[in-house]
């Protein structure tokens, strides 16, 4: 029953933004941050809450943790803007949220296995990703980021969308298939092909698999 109430709570949160709410443009929101107007957080919440909570939940699989990640994300955005002036606010916030959620995921994983979509997506690439809590150096992380960026740039829009949905935002396959209006088996096939191509790319770049 806890699972059911968790689910209901999550669905409520996801649908929180009422239809017909008028939202500010990103530029207006950023100006509020620059003016240090506290409405910036409120308006950001109205516009991006649903999206950011879904990013967090797919990683941490817990509503309370997702809420905490959301609050940390808003604090991160408040501290970063200014001086940062993001070109696309949604992407900026998603980046902060993902990083916050991943940190939480890692800390919970040390205690127990986290039953989240991120765990499932990582297990899909288990043939070249090994479980391990080793800390990744900043230089290595950047290098891997560069390789993956090159790889993603070579993909078509659709394949890029599938890859980023699954491995960056850890979205369930069902959700991806619904948005792309295709079957889950089609998405699974595309993921298999992406996995194979990514492995090939990493090997070509000389990255130890």
């Amino acid at each position: 029953m806890k699972g059911l109430s968790e689910y209901r709570k999550r669905r409520y949160e996801m649908e929180l933004q009422p239809k017909g709410t008028s939202v500010m443009s990103d530029e207006e929101l950023i100006e509020l941050y620059f003016a240090r107007d506290e409405r910036a957080i409120k308006e950001t919440d109205i516009k991006y809450r649903k999206f950011l909570l879904s990013v967090a939940y797919n990683i941490v699989h817990d509503t309370d943790d997702s809420e905490e990640c959301l609050n940390d994300t808003y604090i991160g955005a408040w501290n970063a803007i200014p001086p940062a002036r993001p070109a696309v606010l949604g992407a900026f916030l998603a980046t902060i949220m993902r990083r916050t959620a991943i940190d939480r995921y890692k800390s919970r994983k040390r205690q127990k296995r986290v039953a989240s979509e991120l765990t499932v997506s990582l297990s899909e690439i288990g043939d070249f990703i090994a479980d391990g809590d080793d800390i990744c150096s900043e230089t290595d992380a950047r290098e891997i980021g560069r390789i993956i960026s090159d790889f993603v740039r070579s993909l078509s829009d659709r394949r890029m969308y599938v890859f980023m949905s699954r491995y960056y935002f850890a979205r369930p396959i069902k959700e991806i298939s619904k948005l792309l209006e295709c079957s889950e088996s089609t998405v699974n096939k595309e993921i298999s092909a992406l996995k194979r191509d990514l492995k090939e790319k990493l090997e070509k770049e000389g990255y130890p698999i």
């Binding site: 239809k19 017909g20 008028s22 939202v23 500010m24 443009s25 530029e27 207006e28 991160g76 501290n79 970063a80 200014p82 001086p83 940062a84 002036r85 993001p86 070109a87 696309v88 949604g90 992407a91 900026f92 998603a94 980046t95 993902r98 990083r99 991943i102 890692k106 990582l122 690439i125 990703i129 090994a130 479980d131 391990g132 080793d134 800390i135 990744c136 290595d140 992380a141 950047r142 290098e143 891997i144 980021g145 560069r146 390789i147 993956i148 960026s149 993603v152 078509s156 829009d157 890029m160 969308y161 980023m164 949905s165 491995y167 960056y168 935002f169 619904k178 948005l179 792309l180 990493l202």
Partner: protein
Amino acid sequence: MKENEFLDGIGNVDSDIIERFVAMDNKLQKMAVVPVSKRIWYRVAAVAACLCIIVGLAFYIPYSKRKPPENIPERDIAAESFGYTSSGNDTLSDSGTVTAESVETPSDSTEKPTERPTEAPTEEPTEHPTETPTEEPTERPTETPTEQPTEEPTERPTETPTEEPTEHPTEAPTEQPTEEPTEVPTEQTPSEPVIVPPAPPTIYEPTVSPETPHGNSLEFIVGYSVGSSEGGSGAPPKFNFPYDQMAVKARVVNNYPDTYYKLNTGSLSTPTAYRLIQMETIEVIYGENIPQYFLYLLPAGLYVDMSVYDSLIIALYSQLGLENYVLKNGTQNRMEAFELPIFSDGSADFGHVIAFTDGVFDESLWQNKNWITGYQFGKYYLDHPETSSLVVYRGASESEVVAAVKERIQSYFSRFPASLYVKTLNFKTQEAKDALEYVKPFENGVFFQDFIWYGSGAGGKVVFTRFVNGCETEETVTIDLLTEEVTYSEIRYTEEDIKQLADMTVYVSEKAKEYKENVPTPPNADVEGKKLLALHLYAWYVKADGKLYGVVRNSWEYCKEGNYYLQYRYDTYTIYDMLTGSVADISREDLVGIVGNRNVYDGKYGEELEIPM
């Protein structure tokens, strides 16, 4: 590869990829909201609309060949001068077309074809598929929700624009005509209609302040805005015409030749130089209370002479100001106020402006060298129309693009209803009118207007801030745009106060000159292993406990050597006592004790701040 390596590595993926994903995700999420069955109905409706157009044409073409009436009503200039509106909240604009049936002004370019008057009748059926061909409004809508200018437009001096250099790659006019053609065709048969030449467009001149600025309140010694330097949010926004903004079809009436600056640059960014363009609305595509004339402010780096195009579809992306917006004319070194509402767009090169020549999409606007950053994205979609979600394609007609823009905007607002309209200072309450009188350009000094809009549900406000010698003070007058409630700041500056204020910009200029020769480091700060990103000075005035002060803040921004994303901030402050004339360095805490915390950084100095990638 370890799991953490993969997680951290993919977390370092480039920001433009995330932006590309978010753009695509937004589109898919919105499409997912519309049930499939509803989408089918939309397609059926589109097919039905096309059938109506064909049937309409079948009736209209024979009708158009009939003789037109001999008496053509005169244009109602007064009604045309302000306040065209789309037909209500629920629709796009079918009325409010400024030149629906009239002869269009030959405008500023000698290239403009004289056959253009015949375009209007043929365009009508495609742009307004629901109208019957017989419907041709003979009078302009007289509803003008805002206050009309009290003078007749023809009384204003019309300044001939000076010769404009243009980047337009095709042949472009190098000289503006000095008078509009007034001749009427001499050979007319009794049955030929009398073609009334249109009145020349009105060019609005600014009101000029008698105050001459002597310097800048903000001086950068090293660096630019930290947000725009390397490693910052450098990825470009998506390339497409916005679907959630007001939009018009317009043409350029006047390119003001000078460079302008906003007064409220903030204290962390270098002031951006702008160019100002006066435009005339030809047709309202979406939005209410759209004026016949408006101002368009473009960063100087994006400026291009758009008067060479017959028409432009423009997203009125951001209303920067209402009437009487004050800008600093950097070329003439003076403050100017403009009577027209002003829109600003720093992303015009990302598909927000679409040009047409002879009724066909003209790609050359996007190809100009100032817009090359955005154009490379636009070009990709034009080259690969199968992947494109743009509203244009090569060879697209103006009417097709107008229809595509309307459809996209309407689709968005059908799901996220919001009322978009141009806000004005047309207040009704005496309190608000008195406030406007107080801040009337240059009557009581310089008041900079900051227009903040929260959305149609929440309203907004206009805040007028007094500037003296180009430096901000804390005196404000705030008018709520929905309730017209007026709030005056507790602190007000009298004429006597202003006379006592020494020009802080002179002090800033002297210090800046000194610092440029010898860049200082922040006192008591450990800057080893750190790279200086920016050093700047910012000055403002304060009135506290009846005393007048000037404050100058030195700000240093560093990043960790080799890591732009770890940053540090340091400040020092200097206070100038206007009564005694003394200048002294002051700690942040003491400064706040005397003058409050406006413009005072409240974070920890030297604390490592992680900037997200």
